[in-house]
C-alpha cells in the first residue's frame, strides 16, 4: 500500500470572475521513503494539489469537489479539522518557496523550530529546546545554542531555508512536502539545500513530494515524476523512463527548455504562449494552442483520458500530443 494515494482529486476556487478549476482529476501516489516530483509551469495547480489535501487552501473561495487522498490508509479529505491538524506538522510537514517570509519575524527561531514538538508531543520548553538545538545542528547551522535565541531577520535566505527544514523534520514526518524549496535561493545555495533535504530524508526515511518547475532538479533528486498542466496530470512516470521516453508534447517542451541541455550561445527555448485561464477552460486538450508539434490533431470536443502506456508510465491520450512512432 502506498504511503499516500491520491485519486481523482478535484479542487475549484469559486471567485467573482468565475470558477477556477485549479485541480482536475489528479491521481498520484507516493511510496514510503520515495521522492516524487510534481513539475509544471506557474499556475498549473501543483501547490493547490498538495495544500488542499492538508486543508491549507482558503475555503471559501476554495472547495474540494471530489476525490480521495488516502494517507496510510485513511482519507485526508474526510478528516475533521482537528484530525487533520494532528497530522500536519507531525506526520506530514511542509517547506515553502520563500524562506524570507515563511518564518515568523516576531518569534525567536528556537521557539519556531520547537513548536511542532510542543504542539504534537506536548513537550515543555525545557524539554524541546535541546532537541531544537540538535535539529539546527543537523541542518548545518553553526552555534545553534546562540542561534535559537535569534530572530529570522538575523539569518540569510539559505540559512532560513535550513531552519525551515530543521523545523519541518523535527517530528520525523513520514512525508515532507517541499513546495519549490529552492526557487527563491541563490543558485549556489540551491544545490546545498537540495542535498540537505536528501540527506535528512535518508536519515529519517521520509518520503518527499518535491514541487518544482525545474525538470533539471527533478532529474537529480526524484524517483518518480508527475507533470502537471492546467490543473491536470499530463504525464507521470519513473524518472529514468520519463527522460528516456517522454510521450507528451508538454513534457518534451519542458525538457527542451532546460537551460543546461540547450546548445551554448543560442537563444534559450521557451514554450510559446501562456498557460490557459483556468476559469475559462472548455473541453479538449488544454495544450493544443501551444502544441508546436501536432496541435492540429489535438482533441477539441472531449478531455483526453489518462492511459497507462508502459508499467508505471501514464500519459494523457491526446492524438496531437502523444508522440507517434513507437506507440
Amino acid at each position: 500500500m502506498p504511503l499516500l494515494d491520491v485519486q481523482n482529486l478535484r479542487v475549484a476556487f469559486h471567485t467573482r470572475n468565475g470558477v477556477v478549476r485549479a485541480v482536475t482529476g489528479v491521481s498520484l501516489s507516493v511510496e514510503k521513503g520515495q521522492t516524487v516530483g510534481i513539475v509544471g509551469e506557474s499556475g498549473s495547480g501543483k501547490s493547490v494539489t498538495c495544500y488542499s489535501m492538508l486543508g491549507l487552501i482558503p475555503m471559501p473561495p476554495g472547495r474540494i469537489e471530489g476525490g480521495t487522498a488516502n494517507f496510510d490508509g485513511v482519507d485526508l479529505l474526510k478528516m475533521s479539522r482537528a484530525e487533520l491538524r494532528a497530522i500536519r506538522g507531525r506526520r506530514i510537514s511542509m517547506i515553502f518557496q520563500d524562506p524570507m517570509t515563511s518564518l515568523n519575524p516576531y518569534m525567536r527561531v528556537g521557539d519556531q523550530v520547537m513548536e511542532p514538538l510542543r504542539i504534537h508531543e506536548g513537550l515543555c520548553k525545557a524539554e524541546a529546546l535541546p532537541k531544537a538545538i540538535a535539529a539546527l545542528a543537523e541542518v548545518g547551522i553553526k552555534n545553534p545554542e546562540e542561534r535559537v535565541r535569534q530572530y529570522p531577520h538575523e539569518f540569510s535566505g539559505g540559512m532560513r531555508q535550513r531552519v525551515m527544514i530543521a523545523m519541518s523534520m523535527i517530528t520525523r514526518p513520514e512525508l515532507l512536502i517541499a513546495d519549490e524549496p529552492t526557487t527563491a535561493l541563490d543558485v549556489t545555495i540551491q544545490k546545498q539545500v537540495l542535498d540537505l533535504i536528501k540527506e535528512r530524508q535518508r536519515a529519517l526515511g521520509s518520503a518527499v513530494i518535491l514541487i518544482t518547475h525545474d525538470l533539471a532538479v527533478v532529474s537529480e533528486v526524484c524517483d518518480y515524476v508527475n507533470v502537471m498542466y492546467a490543473g491536470r496530470l499530463v504525464e507521470s512516470a519513473p524518472v529514468g523512463e520519463l527522460f528516456r521516453n517522454p510521450r507528451h508534447a508538454y513534457t518534451r517542451s519542458l525538457m527542451r527548455s532546460i537551460p543546461a541541455l540547450q546548445p551554448k550561445g543560442g537563444t534559450l527555448y521557451t514554450i510559446p504562449g501562456m498557460p490557459p485561464d483556468l476559469a475559462k477552460l472548455g473541453p479538449g486538450c488544454a495544450f493544443r494552442v501551444r502544441n508546436a508539434e501536432n496541435g492540429y490533431l489535438c482533441l477539441t470536443d472531449r478531455d483526453p483520458e489518462i492511459i497507462e502506456i508502459a508499467p508505471g508510465h501514464r500519459v494523457q491520450n491526446c492524438p496531437g500530443c502523444l508522440e507517434r512512432g513507437n506507440a
Binding site: 491538524r85 511542509m94 519575524p105
Partner: protein
C-alpha cells in the same frame, strides 16, 4: 539603548523648548488684551496688574523672565483666575482628567482590541460586518451626541449614575464610557487592519502547516505583529485622552483640565495657555518615547539607536 535614550532626551528638550517659545509669542500676537474686563478698572490697579505679569516690560524681557521661572519649576500666576497659581489649577484639575482618561483608555482597549481581532479572524462574516458597523457608528457619533444619550439612559432613566459633576466615586463612569466608546471604535478598526495584514502573511500558512491550532495562531503568531499599529496609535492618543476633553467636561460638568485648554485660550490667559501647552507637549514627547520602546520590543527588526 543608551544612545537612543540620550538622543531622544535631547530631542525632547528641543521640542518642548520650541513649543514653549512658539506658544509664548503666538498668544501675544493674537489680538486682545488679557487684562481687559467689562468694568473699567482704575489705572493704578491696571498698572500693578501689568507689573505682576511683567506686561509692562518689553517682549524679550518677558520671555527671559518666563523662561527663567519655568526653569525654576514655577509656572507663574494665572491671568484670569484671580490669585490662583497655574501649577495649582493644573494639579486640581488634571487628576480628574487623568482618572477619566485612563478609565476611558482601559474601556477602549478592552472593547476595541478583542472586537478587532475577532472581526479579522472572522473576516467578511456577519460577525465582522456587525463589529465594523458598530465601530463606524462609534467613530461617526460625536461625543456631544453619545454623551447626552448615555446620560439620558443611565443617568436619568435608570438612575445608575449622576448626570454630571465630580462628587461621587462613580462619577468617572459615564464620561469615561463616552470617550472610551469613541476610542474603542478607532482601536477596533486599527486592530482589524493590523491583524488582517498579518494573517495574510506566509508565516501564518507555515504555522497552519505545523498544526498550530487556530486560537494559538492568533495569540502566538499574529497578535504581536498585528498590534503594532494599535500601539503606535495608542501612545500619542494617551497624551490627548488623559489631558481631558473640552466637550466631555462640558457635557458632564467636570472640573477637568480639558476646559482650561480652551478657556485659557479664549480668555487670553497668556500664562495658563503656556502652562497647559507646555505640559501637553512634555507629556506627548514622553509617551512617544515609551511608544517607540514598546514598538521596538514588539518588532524585533526595529533597532533602537
Amino acid at each position: 539603548m543608551l544612545r537612543f535614550t540620550v538622543s531622544r532626551l535631547l530631542q525632547a528638550i528641543v521640542v518642548v523648548f520650541a513649543v514653549f517659545t512658539l506658544t509664548f509669542f503666538m498668544v501675544r500676537l493674537a489680538p486682545g488684551d488679557p487684562l481687559a474686563t467689562e468694568k473699567a478698572i482704575h489705572p493704578d490697579v491696571k498698572r500693578s496688574l501689568q507689573e505682576r505679569y511683567h506686561l509692562d516690560k518689553s517682549l524679550p524681557e518677558q520671555y527671559a523672565l518666563t523662561l527663567k521661572s519655568y526653569f525654576a519649576g514655577d509656572l507663574g500666576p494665572s491671568m484670569k483666575h484671580q490669585g490662583m497659581w497655574n501649577a495649582k489649577i493644573i494639579s486640581d484639575s488634571w487628576p480628574v482628567s487623568l482618572t477619566i482618561g485612563l478609565m476611558a483608555l482601559i474601556i477602549a482597549v478592552a472593547i476595541g482590541i478583542p472586537a478587532g481581532v475577532i472581526a479579522a479572524v472572522r473576516r467578511n462574516t456577519w460577525v465582522d460586518n456587525s463589529a465594523m458597523s458598530m465601530a463606524l457608528l462609534g467613530i461617526c457619533l460625536p461625543g456631544f451626541v453619545m454623551g447626552p444619550l448615555l446620560i439620558a439612559l443611565f443617568g436619568i432613566k435608570l438612575r445608575w449614575f449622576n448626570v454630571g459633576g465630580w462628587y461621587e466615586a462613580t462619577d468617572w463612569v459615564l464620561p469615561a464610557a463616552t470617550m472610551g466608546i469613541i476610542y474603542a471604535a478607532y482601536i477596533a478598526r486599527l486592530t482589524r487592519g493590523g491583524m488582517l495584514e498579518i494573517l495574510n502573511q506566509d508565516f501564518i500558512r507555515t504555522a497552519r502547516a505545523k498544526g498550530v491550532p487556530e486560537l494559538k495562531i492568533v495569540t502566538h503568531h499574529a497578535l504581536r505583529g498585528g498590534l503594532i499599529p494599535v500601539v503606535a496609535y495608542l501612545g500619542p492618543a494617551l497624551a490627548g485622552i488623559t489631558t481631558g476633553s473640552f466637550i466631555i467636561e462640558t457635557i458632564y460638568n467636570l472640573p477637568g483640565l480639558g476646559s482650561h485648554f480652551v478657556n485659557a485660550a479664549v480668555n487670553k490667559d497668556y500664562t495658563l495657555v503656556l502652562a497647559t501647552t507646555v505640559l501637553f507637549a512634555t507629556l506627548l514627547v514622553f509617551v512617544n518615547f515609551f511608544t517607540d520602546i514598546l514598538v521596538a520590543w514588539l518588532n524585533p527588526k526595529v533597532r533602537l539607536t
